[in-house]
């Protein structure tokens, strides 16, 4: 069975790679390359897979899931500047793609020993743009 927990956080970022020229940055990122930064209301869906416990009827303790997401994502990222405050985005461009993969990496080990395994993260940068990563 799949179970999805959703959280929202707001953060600023700029998509700019110093190894690329001005023109290459503009071509790759467009308005996102504004070096003063801008922000998004990110929406994150974390999907776990497991079987409901015979006694509790629950796949996983959602209070524990909430605490993990709070510690691993909300606390370090909410109302932060990703490039300046959230490694590895001091050296990795915080595109939606890279941020989805980084969130997976932070969460994967947290669910390794538990009753539910991490199956997918889906990160909405806006309502019209999202990236999914399943650890492949």
């Amino acid at each position: 069975m799949l179970l999805t927990r959703k959280i929202e956080f707001s953060a600023s970022h700029t998509c700019w790679n110093p190894a690329l020229s001005e023109a290459e940055n503009q071509a790759a990122y467009g308005a996102d390359a504004n070096r003063h930064g801008h922000g998004h209301n990110y929406s994150l869906e974390v999907t776990l897979e497991g079987e409901p416990d015979a006694v509790t009827g629950m796949v996983v303790d959602l209070k524990a899931v909430k605490a993990i997401l709070e510690r691993e994502v909300m606390e370090p990222m909410d109302h932060r500047h990703l490039n300046l405050e959230v490694p590895p985005f001091d050296r990795v461009v915080p595109t939606t793609e890279n941020l989805a993969v980084e969130i997976w990496r932070r969460l994967e080990g947290q669910f390794g020993a538990g009753p539910a395994k991490l199956r997918a993260v889906r990160l909405y940068e806006t309502e019209d743009l999202f990236v999914e990563y399943e650890g492949r």
Binding site: Y29, E97, Y133, R136
Partner: protein, 168 residues
């Protein structure tokens, strides 16, 4: 590099009428109900394009979003937005413009244009979802081309584009 799926959502508005000359007027009314209104009707469609691949190592992007938006504008939005699909879209000259068939037509157009616009891109066009209303959603997947074949060529015909539809 990790393989991610990037999905971008677009919107267009178009008119259609569901009717087929293969059925009588009475049968058309029975099959299509309100959608058979001879004057046609329209929807605000939402279409999602999903791409699969490993982001470019230097940019961290699967494709430049501006290029994807321009592609979607030329291939999907401009030809269909504010159009009457029965009258103005040649694909529907002999095909009922149900949203199932619209998904087939759009997926075919996107799959055949993709390698022209995005030659050498790490991203392949994986699937298309279309909302006719917020309650009716249709999805088409385009299988990956076999090894050695260019992905998404015109050869992606109906029989190898897998369709599933859901009515919520």
């Amino acid at each position: 590099m990790p393989t991610v799926r990037l999905t971008r959502r677009y919107r267009f508005s178009a008119a259609h009428r569901l009717a087929t000359p293969l059925l009588s007027a009475e049968e058309n009314r029975a099959v299509f109900g309100k959608c058979n209104n001879p004057h046609g009707h329209g929807h605000d469609f939402t279409v999602e394009l999903s791409l699969l691949g490993a982001p470019d190592e230097r940019t961290g992007r699967l494709v430049p979003l501006a290029a994807l938006d321009q592609f979607a504008s030329e291939v999907v939005l401009k030809p269909f937005d504010r159009r009457n699909m029965n009258v103005e879209i040649a694909d529907f000259a002999a095909l009922v413009p149900t949203t199932e068939n619209l998904a087939v037509v759009l997926a075919r157009r996107v799959a055949s244009a993709w390698p022209v616009w995005f030659a050498g891109s790490p991203a392949r066009f994986e699937k298309l979802r279309i909302w006719e209303t917020k309650r009716n959603i249709f999805e088409m997947s385009v299988p990956a081309a076999p090894e050695g074949e260019e992905a998404g060529r015109e050869s992606h015909s109906d029989e190898i584009i897998q369709s599933r539809s859901s009515t919520v």
